[in-house]
């Protein structure tokens, strides 16, 4: 197990280097610079432009800039935003709980419905339910997020008035946020109605963000279950006279989960990407919306730092998933 752990962790290092190099290079390939965007139509004379570039360190050769960046990163310094002048790390951790809360709720939504629907569809193969689940999940998977979000807002918020349009909580609630997780902080605040308001604000964005993972998980669970249900040991279990729920729930599901867990790990990346759009539409103050702003303003340090930190989160989740395999299925651990 230890060797397995060391191998997996050592693979993380080149991944990190790749991420820093890619983000550094890619964002500099986008034309335009922060100074032009700062002054807009007003224009700036070339001397002052050069002066500001030098202040931001943008006049140095690219390799030199990258060297400085990596050196600073190794010391835990991700730089300061060229727009707000705040440390990138500070801004990230201020906003990340909002993204994490939304992503977790989206994942819980996707898992609870996706797994259940997938299992039932597999057990009742070729039934109306099966065809419906597969059809709906394909639609969900193909749905453009922004369109889906606007549709839900128009229906549930504007026409029916069941859910709020956007934000994390009603503006009438105002309290300290020690954890940054609105659900927890609203409970801690003791203000009547705050928690309910936070939950109501989470519903639509979590559904929107969870839709694609839900579709993927449902389809994956179904096909994986179907494969396992055809195995000899399942037939044996049934022949032994075990109750169908036990056969499906214990023998089949546990083995069928292995590929599903991989997919769930990969969906974390999808969730964080999806968060960028979802957060912008729902005015959700998380890192996705923050990164979009940084792209618009060519805020290089924020973009580099933000992407690096998100990549770290994705890598850690996938590492955890790899380790989880061993727990779910000892064969994998021993085979390695």
């Amino acid at each position: 197990m230890l060797r397995f752990l060391v191998t997996r962790v050592s693979l993380v290092i080149p991944t990190f280097i790749g991420v820093t190099l890619l983000t550094f290079a890619l964002i500099r390939l986008i034309p335009g610079d922060p100074i032009e965007l700062l002054v807009g139509e007003r224009g700036i004379d070339p001397e002052r432009h050069a002066e500001l570039r030098a202040e931001m360190g943008l006049d140095q050769p690219l390799l030199h800039q990258y060297g400085i960046y990596i050196w600073d990163v190794l010391q835990g310094d991700l730089g300061r935003s060229v727009v707000t002048r705040q440390p990138v790390l500070h801004e990230f951790f201020e906003l990340f709980p909002a993204t994490l809360e939304l992503s977790l709720c989206a994942m819980i939504f996707a898992l609870s419905i996706g797994l259940t629907a997938g299992v039932i569809a597999a057990v009742r193969r070729n039934s109306v339910f099966d065809h419906t689940v597969m059809g709906v999940s394909l639609t969900g998977y193909s749905m453009p997020i922004f369109w889906w979000a606007i549709l839900l807002i128009l229906l549930f918020s504007v026409n029916l008035g069941w859910t709020p349009v956007s934000g994390r909580i009603d503006v009438i609630y105002w309290f300290d946020q020690p954890t940054g997780f609105m659900l927890i902080d609203s409970l801690l605040s003791g203000q009547e109605g705050a928690f309910t308001s936070a939950v109501r604000h989470l519903i639509l964005p979590a559904i929107v963000l969870g839709t694609i993972p839900l579709a993927v998980i449902a389809r994956m669970t179904r096909s994986s279950m179907l494969e396992v249900l055809g195995e000899d040991y399942i037939r044996t279990a049934r022949a032994k006279g075990l109750r169908p729920q036990r056969v499906v729930g214990l023998h089949a599901l546990r083995n069928a989960l292995i590929p599903v867990v991989t997919v769930i790990g990969l969906q974390v990346g999808v969730l964080l990407t999806g968060a960028i759009l979802t957060e912008t539409i729902f005015a959700w103050p998380g890192v996705g919306k923050w990164l979009i702003e940084a792209i618009h303003r060519r805020d290089y340090p924020t973009l580099q730092g933000g992407i690096l930190l998100i990549a770290t989160a994705v890598i850690l989740v996938n590492l955890t998933v790899d380790l989880l395999y061993g727990i779910i299925n000892p064969r994998i651990r021993h085979a390695r």
Partner: protein, 533 residues
Amino acid sequence: MARIVTALALGTALTTGLGGLAQAQTLVYCSEGSPEGFNPALYTSGTTFDASSRAIFNRLVQFERGTTTIIPGLAERWEVSDDGLTYTFYLRDDVQWHSNDDFTPTRGLTADDVIHTFERQLNEDNPYHELSGGTYEYFISMGMPDLIESIERIDDYTVRFNLTRPEAPFMANMGMDFASIMSLEHAEAMTEAGTPELIDRRPVGTGPFQLVDYQQDAIIRYRAFDAYDWGEPALVENLIFSITPDPGVRYAKLQAGECHVMPYPNPADLQEMEEDPDVNLLQQEGLNVGYLAFNTEREPFDNVQVRRALAMAVNKDAIIEAIYQGAGVAATNPIPPTIWSYNEDVEDIPYDPEGARELLAEAGYPDGFSTDIWAMPVQRPYNPNARRMAEIIQADWAEIGVEAEIVTYEWGEYLARSNRGEHETLLLGWTGDNGDPDNFLYVLLSCDAAQNGTNRARWCNEEFDALVTEAKQTADREERIRLYEEAQVVFKDQAPWVTIAHSVVFEPVRPEVTDYRIDPFGGHIFYGVGLEQ
């Protein structure tokens, strides 16, 4: 930001709408983005000005809400010397500063605060100059470093600006956002506490609203400042900016009653808004101009006949119908009709494709030529859809044999390249900063501007330049009007631009909002705005 744990006195109303809020007189504005900071001198974006200078701060002189008229601000009166080189401001002696968790002021506004504000931007040796990046681009682009020779403290409530040259628009400049007056005592206290940067993040101003809380990318909370009793007051107790970047979502929030006022509606939603009983769609002619500039340094645009011919071929009415959806007026002069000195007698170059063809032939291009049209990649109040506009102009020019290729770049790149003069013709525009004609005519069309890039036509006409330069240095308003009127005649005759349109600005507000006025400078101002119970 440390948050003060306070529940708004709203009882236990469990409502998502604004019914509960109205009881406590809370006005919610669905703003379009996060401010870059809270010091308006460091930034140039309207989003930052709305959140800082227009709510929290005051200036020596101000613009009357909803107009371009200069009225007394922190200075109750002022004197200008006969040679136009000295401006003496007499400050009010009853102006109080805001307080917050970190700072409680011990004195009111004095001349020291005014000097501190301008010295910070002007003087590289000022201890606060480099703070928060030290990018005073607005101050610099308005030419203030070259203009202000010195600032003198005459007594506690009198301050004098000595200028290097007479500059008539100086008073208007003093009303601009970058000239918002900051507290010296606050700066000193924060420096002593080892957190000088807080002066730009947790601002202390003199204005009608004081900042209470800012949660990045989510919400800004203000409370009416009780001691602000000398200017137009805040009529609501609480002001909230609920940051909502998507225009469609802002409209949904307005409909659902989650906000009272929203900026920048989606043009496609305007018709629905007009019919919506929950929305008052306010509109006003904007202080702006959308134009197509010819790069007059390049052939054949150095030839005035070519420029006039191409201007003659553009069907502005069709553009106004298709691009501005009727919400714009054809522009004749480079300044909008709402600005003083607008010359009513100037006649626009008429739409006449046949005449254009003849003129082009006279200029030596009977078979036309090839060129480009640069179209901005962004939507602006002065040009809601540059790409589509370029297509219409392309078709118009094709009629007279001129083949134009449409070119576009990412916005920053577009600005940088056009600043360097890489275009042949380009679409752009301008929204006024201070209501002075100089802010259009000199900033966009002078020879100085041709060198520093804001004059995208790179047009340097001696006659025009002499007129606008003289007007800039003349104190007498009547004389300035005469000079600017003459300059507009020269401009039209020489046609460095095709003046396209002055657009109408729309702002949807809920019916319970009272006396909200559209700011001609594009700002969003909430003092003097009330809510009907």
